[in-house]
């Protein structure tokens, strides 16, 4: 894996790659990347004769869960003043982290008037994302408090087996799917449903605003069956079928005769839940360049086969309407094409910006002769950040004063974005800015 910069400097792949200046992570989250492995769940309670004991633990027969309990006994069932505080302790000797939320319930029916319990989660120590489990530990404690106060679910022996099954299902579901929906049957007639879902740590951060000129692209395989569409809200029912990786937010709004802000809101929601990623609008006028992530692609066999499948020309018809058979793309061609997307070295001496538009690139490289659809090639590259769009950023070299345009030329706003804001042709704007002599232009 190519080592990349963390914060200040990046070359290529980064927030700019997708135009996602609000934070590059949105749309690129996968469950497997982050969630630490769940090693076990244990339910401990205070026994009036024996002190803190394990009531149940999953997976059954795992000695490490018991060892963890003995290590952290004093925190799992702590002093009463420590109840309802969230604790997470790393145990290096056992290579795990224990997440705890001790609870006590006072009632005269309990022996000594109090029932103390703690449902603790044990996760692998290697991941630092154990915080993902913290809300679940607390939520689980809140559910159990409710169930105990209402139905004596933890103390009544008739629920003993069911309690164990609940823990087992939760352990299996959270380990494999990252979410769990459990139905607890009370007195054979009532059903209480418990919902758990692991959330990535960046949840809770405001998702970036959606630019109307960005193209939403599905990053999860979604089969839009009528049953699934029926479940959606009215707006999503209309918008989601229009997301094809080609139409921009504004174009979708025009097709559906909706306000673009409504479409943007729906897309933002989908973006937040990692259903879609956003890529800049595909234009033959744009210049795309390969980023260092293309090296990761070279080594990733799964991504290569996905790419070869995605970038091939779907169907080509001749003048007589008959289908023309297209060659299957080869990896060497695709990879060479990605590498060939770069800023040309020549022409630099002339002072002209050596920008090669996609149109010129297509004319030179002829990807279609190799069975490769350049539009799909670019979209695949943009989504996986092998490619980024090259933009020209003006930097004002004089004191901007109160002039909003000069202030906007701070190296963070591209000529294209400025042209959109001021409703002017990007070429004309670039020419005007250059003519004024107050700007330097950085291409990145």
């Amino acid at each position: 894996m190519v080592q990349r910069q963390k914060t200040l400097a990046t070359f290529g792949a980064g927030p700019f790659a997708t135009g996602d200046t609000g934070g590059g992570r949105f749309g690129h989250y996968t469950f497997d990347d982050e969630a630490p492995k769940l090693l076990g769940i244990l339910l401990a309670e205070f026994d009036n004769r024996e002190g803190p004991i394990i009531k149940h633990y999953v997976p059954r027969g795992n000695d490490e869960v018991e060892a963890t309990f003995h290590f952290t006994k004093a925190l799992i069932i702590p002093k009463t003043s420590m109840f309802r505080h969230s604790f997470a302790l790393t145990i290096k000797a056992l290579d795990c982290k224990v997440l705890m939320f001790p609870v006590g319930i006072d009632h005269q029916d309990y022996h000594r008037g109090r029932f103390t319990f703690n449902m603790s989660f044990i996760v692998d120590m290697t991941s630092s994302a154990e915080t993902m489990y913290e809300p679940i530990v607390q939520k689980c404690a809140e559910y159990l408090i409710e169930l105990e106060i209402e139905y004596h679910f933890l103390t009544d022996s008739k629920y003993r087996n069911q309690l164990y099954e609940v823990m087992e299902k939760m352990f299996i579901d959270l380990s494999t799917k990252g979410e769990s929906v459990i139905e607890v049957v009370i007195d054979e007639d009532q059903i209480v449903t418990l919902y758990f879902k692991l959330c990535p740590s960046y949840r809770g951060i405001e998702p970036p605003e959606i630019d109307y000129h960005m193209v939403p692209m599905f990053i999860r395989e979604v089969e839009l069956s009528p049953r699934l569409i029926e479940k959606m809200d009215v707006l999503s029912q209309k918008i989601i079928p229009q997301i094809d990786g080609i139409n921009t937010v504004r174009e979708i709004a025009i097709i559906l005769e909706l306000d673009p802000s409504l479409v943007a809101r729906c897309v933002r929601n989908l973006h937040f839940y990692e259903c879609v990623s956003l890529v800049p609008m595909f234009l033959y006028w744009n210049t795309y360049v390969a980023t260092e992530r293309v090296h990761d692609f070279y080594k990733n066999q799964m991504e290569i086969s996905d790419c070869l499948e995605f970038v091939k020309i779907q169907s080509a018809t001749g003048e007589d309407g008959s289908e023309i058979p297209m060659p299957n793309p080869e990896f060497s061609d695709v990879f060479r094409l990605y590498l060939s997307m770069r800023v040309p070295d020549e022409d630099v001496e002339n002072g002209a910006i050596p920008k090669k538009s996609l149109e010129q690139w297509v004319a030179e490289e002829k990807p279609r002769s190799m069975g490769i659809d350049e539009h799909r090639l670019v979209q695949f590259g943009m989504h996986h950040q092998f490619l980024r769009k090259l933009s020209n950023y003006p930097i004002c070299t004089v004191n901007p004063g109160n002039n909003s345009l000069l202030k906007a030329c701070n190296g963070k706003t591209s000529v294209d974005e400025l042209a959109l804001t001021h409703n002017i042709d990007p070429g004309v704007l670039h020419h005007l800015l250059k003519k004024s002599g107050k700007f330097e232009f950085v291409m990145k």
């Binding site: 190519v2 070359f11 505080h85 997470a88 790393t90 319930i105 029916d109 630099v348």
Partner: protein
């Protein structure tokens, strides 16, 4: 060169505490800085619906007892807990002592390294000392490890002093005195203790500089570096200990260094450090520095490793006219930087002009041109160094892949077949099977215009370099590892360009 451009650097250190167990029991005897305690949140009772089967007439409620601590334990903290509660949570079983401690309470992270100590003359009783650091949310594992190491170092030095002079016993007695008759035992203990002012000083040093170099009680040397914080304070991409160690491991004689701050060797430092620093400049490689100073290269490596690990320098490729640079793509706080650059370099050249020049990528000699005045050349060289230091400029390197030609490429059609000797060379190489026949054809076609021995030499070099042509090694590396001349290597790559794909990117080990 001194630091010129600062950026907002974040230090994860929030506060430092001292947890001490002694004859009176376990307690936190110091917390620095003391911030205003947050009003303690009262747990909200869950609503029990009237339809629920409440087992009896009285309502069940959640336990909400309070302790009745005394002395240090009474002190409320900003963490919604008293020092008594924190002390209870930090109390580590003996099995967990002498190992890293990491605990999160209500989303607040506490790290340390508890150590055991014994009173002088006693062989059985084991007490504990732990310097606990409260870290801000969001810190990564490397930062946590760095503070655990610091906690360990401080604890080791305290235990050592205890073994010599009964230091911790004395501190424990003073804690008893402070606790006994005073309303504010923390403040009272701070007045009496030798340890508390030292902890406060260390806190200030870490927060302001990211590193510590001091002598505990004037005789135990204590050094520590929060690498990420120290680097970000100097506007350099923050790197943790692990990444720095990886850089050090991959350091080669062709690399150079860029000093981040004025480095003044301490009086007891090895005299070769001062000698090496006087020969240190951005256009010299490690090998050059060794040759110029007469210091053996192994020793140069050791010193440079030390400088990098203490965040006094970063690894670069020596400045050279043929180097290709580009400006980094991430947005930088340009306005402030431009002002500071103008203050340092004058108004002759704007920071943006430097950045604009290198985007698209350019060779260094197109910026520092020979036809400029020497003064101007000097200013431009300094500007490049400053841009490199703040990683606003990045050097690009050429990486190579051996790949099949384009499917529509015109392939060589030699008149004569490839000689057996060449085929043997190709067959034994690591080149993939689909490329081997093309390499043979290229060699055979080359024989039509070039002498046999010359072609054989080129093919041998190509085969030799083939294992490194997988996108992981740049030209410098290939050249260095095969002990070859750059021009010769480039000529080989040109001859076999049909099966080579090139890509220019930064080498992130050095950047």
């Amino acid at each position: 060169m001194t630091a010129t451009v600062g950026c907002t650097s974040e230090c994860y250190l929030h506060c430092v505490m001292c947890f001490l167990t002694g004859q009176t029991g376990e307690r936190i005897v110091s917390i620095h800085p003391r911030r205003k305690a947050t009003p303690r949140a009262c747990p909200v009772e869950p609503q029990v619906s009237s339809a629920g089967k409440a087992p009896s007439s009285s309502k069940a409620k959640l336990t909400c007892d309070k302790d009745d601590p005394f002395g240090f334990g009474k002190v409320e903290t900003e963490f919604d807990l008293t020092l008594f509660q924190l002390g209870y949570a930090f109390k580590t079983q003996e099995i967990g002592c002498n190992d890293a401690f990491d605990m999160r309470i209500n989303n607040q992270r506490f790290v340390g390294w508890p150590k055991t100590w014994k009173p002088l003359g006693s062989s059985s009783t084991n007490y504990q000392i732990s310097i606990i650091f409260a870290l801000k949310p969001g810190c990564d594992g490397q930062t946590v490890a760095a503070y655990q190491t610091l906690s360990n170092k401080i604890a080791v030095s305290l235990v050592m002093q205890q073994n010599y002079t009964g230091y911790l016993e004395r501190e424990d007695n003073w804690a008893d005195i402070a606790e006994r008759d005073h309303a504010d035992p923390i403040a009272e203990f701070a007045k009496l203790s030798f340890m508390v002012p030292q902890l406060a000083d260390m806190y200030t040093e870490v927060r302001s500089r990211g590193n510590i170099h001091r002598y505990q009680s004037n005789f135990i040397e204590l050094g520590f570096c929060d690498e990420a914080h120290a680097l970000s304070r100097l506007s350099v991409v923050p790197k943790g200990r692990q990444e720095i160690d990886e850089i050090v491991r991959r350091m080669k004689p062709y690399h150079g260094i860029l000093l981040l701050e004025d480095v003044w060797p301490t009086p007891d430092a090895n005299p070769t450090v001062a000698k090496l620093l006087s020969h240190c400049s951005p256009d010299r490689s490690i090998l050059d520095m060794s040759t110029a100073s007469g210091i053996p290269i192994f020793e140069v490596f050791m010193i440079i490793r030390h400088l990098i690990q203490w965040t006094r320098a970063i690894l670069i490729y020596p400045l050279c006219n043929t180097n290709i640079y580009t400006s980094a793509t991430s947005p930088q706080p340009l306005e402030k930087m431009a002002e500071r650059f103008a203050a340092q370099f004058g108004t002759k050249i704007h920071l943006a002009a430097g950045l604009a020049h290198f985007n698209p990528p350019q060779r260094l000699d197109t910026f520092i041109r020979d036809n400029l005045t020497l003064e101007e050349q000097g200013v431009r060289a300094k500007l490049v160094v400053a841009l490199l230091r703040h990683q606003m400029l990045m050097q690009l390197h050429q990486f190579y892949y051996i790949l099949k030609p384009y499917s529509n490429a015109v392939l060589p059609k030699p008149k004569e077949p490839c000689p057996d000797e060449f085929w043997k060379l190709i067959d034994e190489s690591t080149i993939s099977d689909d490329v081997k026949p093309i390499v043979a054809d290229i060699s055979a076609e080359m024989l039509e215009t070039v002498a046999y021995e010359a072609v054989k030499r080129k093919l041998t070099l190509f085969v030799q370099a083939a294992p490194m042509m997988n996108g992981n090694h740049h030209l410098e590396d290939i050249k260095y590892k095969n002990n070859l001349d750059r021009a010769e290597m480039e000529s080989v790559f040109t001859s076999f360009q049909l099966v080579i794909a090139k890509f220019r990117r930064p080498d992130f080990v050095a950047e």
